[in-house]
Structure formats: structure tokens, C-alpha cells
């Protein structure tokens, strides 16, 4: 007689949520990073339009490396490698990007008088021209996801959750 397998080996909900959070944040970073990395000149032009960086070397360095860096962090998150350290970096990047986009949107709103949630422009985020309200909401969600991954010691389904821990 076959023993009845108890259904206690269920997938823990917390781990599933964290896995989904990791994959969501990681895949968004890979997709948006790649779209910029494959068209670095377009990204360079948008960075230049922001007018925040005077030095050509710094401007080029950011345009050349930031998209690939995003891809790298995204892959680490999807693979579950150095999750909390990468989540901290993603949080730092998202806070900076969101602040810069919000500043530009507010300036455009002030100068053009276009209602804030009707503003659309290419923010250099990798998705082309977007409605800025939507972009800010999306970034808010990704910030929450980054915060969640940073705050939680998540180890299940991770290749190497702590990079600096031996073994």
C-alpha cells in the first residue's frame, strides 16, 4: 500500500514572494540595461541633455558602463548571488534615477505648464518615451522590491546569497 504523502512539503509563501521579487527586479534591470547598452549613443545623448555632468570623461564613463552594470546586477539578482549587496546597489541607483527624472519632470512642468501626469519624454531609462507619472510609479514599486530584498535574509533558491561568506 502506498503511503499517503503528507502535503507539508509545500512551497513556503515567503520564499516564493522573495524569489518573484528577485526575478522581477533582476529581469527589469537586465531588459532596460541591455536596451541602453546596445544603443550607448542614444543613452549618451540623453545624459547630455540632462546637463548634470560637465566632464566629457565622466559623461562617457557613465554612458558606457552604467547600462552594463545594470545588466550585471540584474543577472546577480536573478541568479541569487550576493542578493542583499546587489539590492543595496539597485536601491542606490533607483533613488538617484528617480530623483533626476523627477527633477526634470518638475522643471518641464514649470516651464511648459503641461499637467504633470501628461508629461512624457525619454528619460534615458531604456524604454524610450514614457509617461513620467507611470515611470515614477514603476520606480516606486522597484524601490519597494529593492528594500524588501535588502531587509530580508533570503537564501532559498539562491546560487550564493552571501558573496563574502565562505562556502
Amino acid at each position: 500500500m502506498n503511503p499517503v504523502i503528507p502535503r507539508t512539503s509545500r512551497i513556503p509563501g515567503r520564499d516564493l514572494v522573495l524569489l518573484l521579487a528577485r526575478c522581477l527586479l533582476g529581469s527589469v534591470m537586465v531588459v532596460l540595461g541591455l536596451s541602453k547598452a546596445l544603443h550607448p549613443v542614444d543613452f549618451l545623448k540623453i545624459l547630455h541633455q540632462y546637463g548634470l555632468i560637465e566632464s566629457p570623461v565622466v559623461l562617457n564613463l557613465i554612458a558606457a558602463t552604467l547600462p552594463w552594470f545594470e545588466v550585471f546586477c540584474g543577472l546577480l539578482l536573478v541568479g541569487g548571488i550576493a542578493v542583499r549587496g546587489t539590492a543595496l546597489l539597485s536601491l542606490a541607483m533607483l533613488v538617484s534615477f528617480t530623483g533626476i527624472v523627477l527633477r526634470r519632470a518638475l522643471a518641464l512642468h514649470a516651464t511648459t505648464g503641461i499637467p504633470f501626469c501628461s508629461l512624457r519624454f525619454d528619460c534615458g531609462c531604456g524604454a524610450g518615451e514614457v509617461i513620467i507619472c507611470h515611470k515614477l510609479l514603476e520606480n516606486g514599486l522597484l524601490l519597494l522590491v529593492s528594500g524588501l530584498l535588502l531587509a530580508t535574509n533570503h537564501r532559498r533558491w539562491c546560487l550564493r546569497p552571501d558573496l563574502l561568506e565562505p562556502g
Partner: protein, 190 residues
């Protein structure tokens, strides 16, 4: 928290190294040392919000400006067929392939090493060179013209067509798609 910070620093260093290598090996990689947006006379950078400053900026560098009708006149001039007048498209591959002024050479100024060796002898032999990009707030034609002067072309021979491809197509004038002299022409009705 300290360990997370250390981990972030390690990931940051690894990521930057990987990103630098990726940029180096990518055929579309950027040159870190190049100034892609050289300032004009120190302060007057070509800001898209100040299009009225364009003629003055060009004049300061000895470059000329043409409007759509003047560009069309140069296109219809018999010297265009003889390549004594040249049109140069300063946009990237995708935009050039999608449609350019028939017979125009491509010069993507972000990758001059790809185009200049083939382009320069013809430019040096030409009497007049019209440089254009998309038009509107596009500043690539202006920068491309400056790059050509740095490569040795007399500025007096260079004219910037500020209306660019958008204006050209809006007039319903012929547009060539694909490679230069592909023979694939289309006329966009305004």
C-alpha cells in the same frame, strides 16, 4: 549591515570592471576620452532649447547654414551628380537605412573611424558639402561639420541643413532607403 556594504562594494567593483570590458569589446562601445559634445566658444553649447543661436554659432566657426529650398537647389545642381557637391547624413545606421537624401554619404560622428577614411578624400575634392541630421533639436549635423573641419576640411565649404531629414521628407522630396545609391527611392507625400 557592514557586511552588506562590503558586499555591495565588491559587487560594485566587479560590475564596473565587467562593464568597462563590455564597452571595450562592444562594436558600439564609446570612447571614454573623446569629447562628443565640444563646447562652442567655451560657453555656447548647442542646447536644443536655444535653436535661434544656431546661425551665430555656425558663423563663429566659419560654417554656413542652408534652408530646405537652398538644400534642394544644391541637390538639383548638376555638380551633385559629379560629386562636386556632397550631402552628408550625420545619423546612425538605422536612421540612414530607413531613409536619406539620395546619394548622401553617411557619417555617424560618434564612430568617425568607421566613416572618415572612405569619406575624407571625396570631401576634400568637393566644392560644397551639405551636412544634415534629423532636424528639429538634432545637433549631430553641427557637431559632424565641426568634426569634418577638425579632419582638415575648410569650414567655408561646409553647410549645415538644419531642417534635416524631417523637413526634407515633409516636402515630399525623394528619399533613398538602404545603402547609398541603392536605387530604392520613395517619395513621402506631405
Amino acid at each position: 549591515m557592514k557586511r552588506i556594504l562590503r558586499e555591495a562594494l565588491v559587487i560594485g567593483a566587479l560590475g564596473l570592471t565587467m562593464a568597462s570590458v563590455a564597452n571595450l569589446v562592444s562594436p558600439r562601445g564609446l570612447s571614454l576620452a573623446r569629447d562628443y559634445f565640444p563646447a562652442k566658444a567655451g560657453t555656447d553649447s548647442p542646447a536644443p532649447s536655444r535653436p535661434g543661436a544656431l546661425p551665430a554659432r555656425l558663423a563663429r566657426h566659419g560654417l554656413g547654414l542652408v534652408d530646405g529650398l537652398q538644400a534642394r537647389k544644391l541637390f538639383d545642381d548638376p555638380r551633385y551628380e559629379q560629386e562636386r557637391i556632397l550631402f552628408i547624413d550625420a545619423r546612425d545606421d538605422r536612421h540612414y537605412q530607413e531613409g536619406h537624401v539620395p546619394g548622401a554619404y553617411q557619417f555617424d560622428r560618434y564612430y568617425p573611424e568607421r566613416h572618415l577614411p572612405a569619406l575624407l578624400p571625396g570631401c576634400l575634392a568637393a566644392e560644397t558639402i551639405v551636412v544634415y541630421c534629423t532636424g528639429g533639436t538634432c545637433e549631430d549635423s553641427e557637431f559632424a561639420a565641426l568634426t569634418l573641419t577638425e579632419a582638415g576640411l575648410p569650414p567655408a565649404r561646409l553647410l549645415v541643413y538644419a531642417g534635416g531629414m524631417t523637413e526634407w521628407a515633409s516636402f515630399g522630396w525623394p528619399v533613398e532607403t538602404g545603402a547609398r545609391k541603392s536605387g530604392l527611392l520613395r517619395s513621402v507625400k506631405p
